[in-house]
């Protein structure tokens, strides 16, 4: 047994309202640069729908992920290493910009500088690739809220596998949202596809990253990733991907998408897994057994033997504690309500989903039935095969029984808790019907409905003993701020050249100080740019809103009106 820790996420799809706040804040933090205009590390898809990039789930076409080859050996769908290198000069199955969308902006200048004229001036869309006027025809969520259905949804690769009659009913009845980030797979096919070895999995927390200094822009990762969550920065010529906000996670705070999630539907935690059994699990012959196989390599963090092995593998005590309190381990393995997205890609994804029950309840309620009655809801889950079949296509490689089981648990939880809330006697038979106890259902309800910040995000900070370079002390060059003379601008080969400034959210002490303080986030010394990467959810980041008139004397509007003198630093962190 070789124990490794893996950071992971679970999203409760019942709670997603499709507001795209996660996408927008992620973009603001990570991809608001040129070259990645079209890139959404986090995107929210309406299902049924084609997704982003279009029809990415059709692996017959895009060749992403792994497959079991002859002799039961796991191999990349794109073939052998030699084959990939032979196609390196022109990758035959790489998505083009049209499959994502051509990024654009508007000619706002026309609005401002138009002369007096009879008609209102119009800001034309202009391509961010060519700077020419363009026709906007597609975007990252063009089919948001079933826009363009049923014509567009007909191309949904998951829907195509569902029978025709089911398809039509689905379009009339159901819709839900699927927020997606990089899966930070245990068996990442992007990393396996990278000719340069630039994509690596961090040994400490399993986060998959691209080394920008080693990436040479061969683009095999774009094909290799079945979720199409590796993007090509067309300005720098390097691959970029979701980072799991590692600078935030390293200091113990959740990713930007989780932090800003309006529905609070995301859970972050770590799981321990047995690295020695990954290959065996990923090579499971039957697609529908992959869910169980992946669950089986996750180790019980309360098992004394696992703890011993983890300690021997160098995992510190606080990480083991965090694994024991991990909300994602509970949702995946204790309650078994979370399911992986497309386990059949065999990458062992680590962002899991609790399938949505709401479509079933809504359909039931619309027909005049009591949508939360246990009998009704159990019946409906069985009868309304429609979403189940579709959900199974997403989460269990088509195994409907597994999805039904999860939906029944969620339904049972609703019924059981409703009885409690209405002061009726608890009906234990509801719990028994789904193989749980009333206590389990109450715990699950607590985790899904009322868990607070520190229960939803159990993130042990990274271990690096604190050295002076990690403090924001003035030991560096005083001219070494953004755009300052010390930075020297870009190198002679344009904006893509020269050294990279390491990404980080401040240091641990500073952050702890701020989290425990009563003052808002934005340090007054920072540049005007809104930096959500540094935002811990307190107050409004500097520059996000213009100053209010009454505050303008105080220079920076502070929502809590702390009553401090205007030029004293908002951050009162205890410097060591």
């Amino acid at each position: 047994m070789r124990v490794m820790a893996q950071m992971g996420m679970v999203m409760n799809l019942d709670k997603c309202i499709g507001c795209h706040t996660c996408s927008v804040t992620c973009k603001q933090a990570w991809t608001n640069r040129s070259g990645v205009e079209y890139v959404w590390f986090n995107n929210v898809e309406t299902r049924p729908g084609q997704g982003y990039p279009r029809t990415y789930e059709d692996q017959e076409k895009w060749k992403g992920g792994w497959e079991v080859g002859r002799g039961g050996r796991l191999r990349l769908r794109t073939g052998s290493r030699l084959k990939r290198l032979l196609t390196i000069f022109s990758n035959p199955v790489q998505p083009s910009i049209a499959d994502y969308y051509e990024p654009w902006t508007y000619d706002y200048d026309t609005l401002l500088n138009a002369p007096v004229q009879e008609h209102t001036p119009v800001a034309q869309p202009r391509s961010l690739l060519t700077d020419k006027p363009m026709k906007v025809e597609w975007s990252a969520n063009w089919d948001d809220n079933l826009g363009g259905a049923p014509e567009l949804t007909a191309d949904d690769p998951v829907l195509k596998k569902v029978s025709a009659q089911v398809k039509q009913q689905f379009e009339q009845t159901y819709m839900f949202y699927l927020p997606r980030i990089c899966e930070h797979c245990i068996n990442p096919s992007c990393a396996a596809s990278c000719p340069s070895g630039a994509i690596y999995k961090r040994a400490e927390d399993g986060i998959v990253l691209v080394d920008q200094d080693r990436c040479r822009g061969w683009r095999m990762c774009m094909t290799g990733c079945p979720y199409k969550k590796i993007y090509y920065n067309h300005r720098t010529g390097k691959a970029e991907k979701c980072t799991f906000c590692f600078p935030r996670v390293e200091v113990g705070i959740p990713t930007v998408c989780s932090e800003t999630c309006v529905g609070r539907l995301r859970y972050i935690g770590i799981v321990l897994y047995d690295a020695d059994r990954v290959l065996e699990a990923a090579s499971t012959p039957d697609d529908q057994d992959l869910y169980e196989a992946q669950r089986s390599i996750l180790l019980d963090p309360n098992d004394p033997e696992v703890i011993r092995a983890a300690t021997a593998a160098g995992i510190r005590r606080d990480w083991i504690d965090a694994a024991q309190r991990s909300p994602i381990y509970a949702l995946i393995n204790r309650y078994e309500v979370a399911l992986p997205l497309h386990p059949e890609y065999r990458t062992m994804p680590m962002v899991w989903y609790i399938p949505p029950l709401s479509p079933v309840v809504d359909a039931l309620t619309e027909t005049g039935h009591d949508g939360e009655d246990a009998g009704n809801i159990f019946g409906a889950i069985e009868a309304l095969r429609i979403p189940v079949e579709y959900l199974a296509g997403l989460f269990t490689a088509g195994d409907t029984a597994r999805v039904t089981g999860v939906l029944r648990k969620l339904g049972a939880m609703r019924s059981y808790l409703r009885d409690l809330n209405l002061g009726r006697p608890a009906d234990e038979s509801i719990a028994t019907a789904v193989g749980m106890t009333g206590r389990d259902l109450q715990d699950l309800h607590r985790l899904l409905a009322i868990a607070k910040y520190d229960e939803r995000y159990v993130i042990p900070p990274a271990h690096a003993e604190q050295g002076p370079e990690q403090e924001e002390l003035d030991v560096g060059c005083s001219l070494d701020y953004d755009e300052g003379p010390g930075m020297g601008g870009w190198g002679p080969f344009g904006e893509t050249s020269g050294g990279v400034t390491p990404i980080a959210v401040e240091n641990f002490h500073m952050l702890a100080g701020r989290q425990l303080s009563d003052t808002p986030a934005a340090p007054p010394t920072k540049d005007e740019r809104v930096n959500l990467l540094n935002w811990d959810g307190k107050g409004a980041p500097e520059g996000m809103f213009p100053p209010r008139p009454e505050d303008s004397a105080a220079l920076h509007g502070r929502p809590d009106g702390g009553g401090e003198p205007p030029d004293s630093p908002a951050v009162t962190d205890p410097k060591p």
């Binding site: 290493r81 990939r84 290198l85 000069f89 022109s90 990758n91 790489q94 083009s96 910009i97 391509s127 690739l129 060519t130 020419k132 068996n187 990393a191 396996a192 000719p195 340069s196 070895g197 994509i199 690596y200 999995k201 961090r202 400490e204 920008q212 200094d213 080693r214 040479r216 822009g217 061969w218 683009r219 090509y232 067309h234 720098t236 010529g237 390097k238 200091v251 160098g314 995992i315 510190r316 990274a462 271990h463 690096a464 003993e465 050295g467 370079e469 403090e471 924001e472 560096g476 070494d480 190198g491 080969f493 050249s497 020269g498 050294g499 400034t501 390491p502 980080a504 401040e506 240091n507």
Partner: protein
């Protein structure tokens, strides 16, 4: 042997090679982030699908041809019994095929670069200059091959250009050999020297990233988190000390 000969066939080659070697070292040290293919496949695929493999495979064969032609002395091939005419025929035929593939690929790629909007927008001045030098070198080289077929330029490059090229690396340059070579070979060599001199400062550096290590490395790469937290590099003298064992 005139001063011009020394300048062209001794000084220039050494300057060019020095820039080539030191330039690459410097670029790699300074600009790993800028070291990339700068692929434009994201913008356009139809033309690239033909142009890029034609050009790249073509130029790889051209490279092999140059290694054989410049690196292997005539006496060696004669020692293993390859006749002069046989060698010549082989070299000219394979060279012409590879050269025309390269040229065709290059033509498609340049046409694409000029006509496809986003690709043209992504073309820098640096790229344009490099394309001119690269195209000139390829055209001059190919014309030498073609003229060789037609029987012009009687001088055998294996008696002039090749020994001169090798003499550079023995550090006993023989400029008089190159001075005897035909004008076509001289021009080709000069444009190649210019190409080598600008090489480290263009996108051509990606040639040295040919990912041959991919065959031997394990599929999944694990790496430890960098020891540094914080958003600036550690100032000199403040590098982190390794404390204890534990997690790396």
């Amino acid at each position: 042997m005139s001063a011009t000969d020394v300048l062209l066939w001794v000084i220039l080659p050494y300057v060019s090679l020095a820039i080539f070697v030191i330039g690459h070292y410097w670029r790699y040290r300074y600009d790993k982030f800028g070291w990339t293919t700068r692929s434009t496949e994201l913008y356009e695929q139809r033309l690239l699908r033909w142009g890029s493999p034609l050009f790249h495979f073509g130029i790889l064969f051209v490279l092999l041809g140059h290694i054989a032609g410049l690196g292997i002395p005539k006496s060696w091939t004669e020692a293993v019994g390859i006749s002069e005419t046989g060698y010549h025929a082989l070299a000219v035929i394979t060279g012409a095929i590879a050269g025309f593939c390269t040229l065709a690929g290059l033509a498609i790629l340049i046409y694409r670069r000029r006509t496809v909007g986003p690709v043209f927008s992504a073309t820098t001045k640096n790229d344009k200059f490099m394309y001119v030098v690269l195209t000139a070198t390829i055209l001059l080289g190919l014309s030498n091959t073609v003229l060789g077929v037609l029987g012009h330029e009687g001088a055998d490059y294996r008696d002039t250009v090749s020994p001169w090229f090798r003499s550079i690396f023995y550090f006993r340059p023989q400029p008089e050999l190159m001075a005897e070579a035909g004008l076509g070979f001289q021009l080709h060599a000069l444009s190649a020297l210019l190409l080598f001199a600008i090489w480290p400062f263009t996108r051509l550096v990606h040639v040295f990233s040919a990912p041959l290590g991919y065959f031997t490395r394990p599929y999944i790469v694990y790496r430890s988190r960098s020891a540094q937290l914080g958003n600036r590099r550690a100032p000199r003298g403040w590098e982190q000390e390794r404390v204890g064992g534990g997690r790396r």
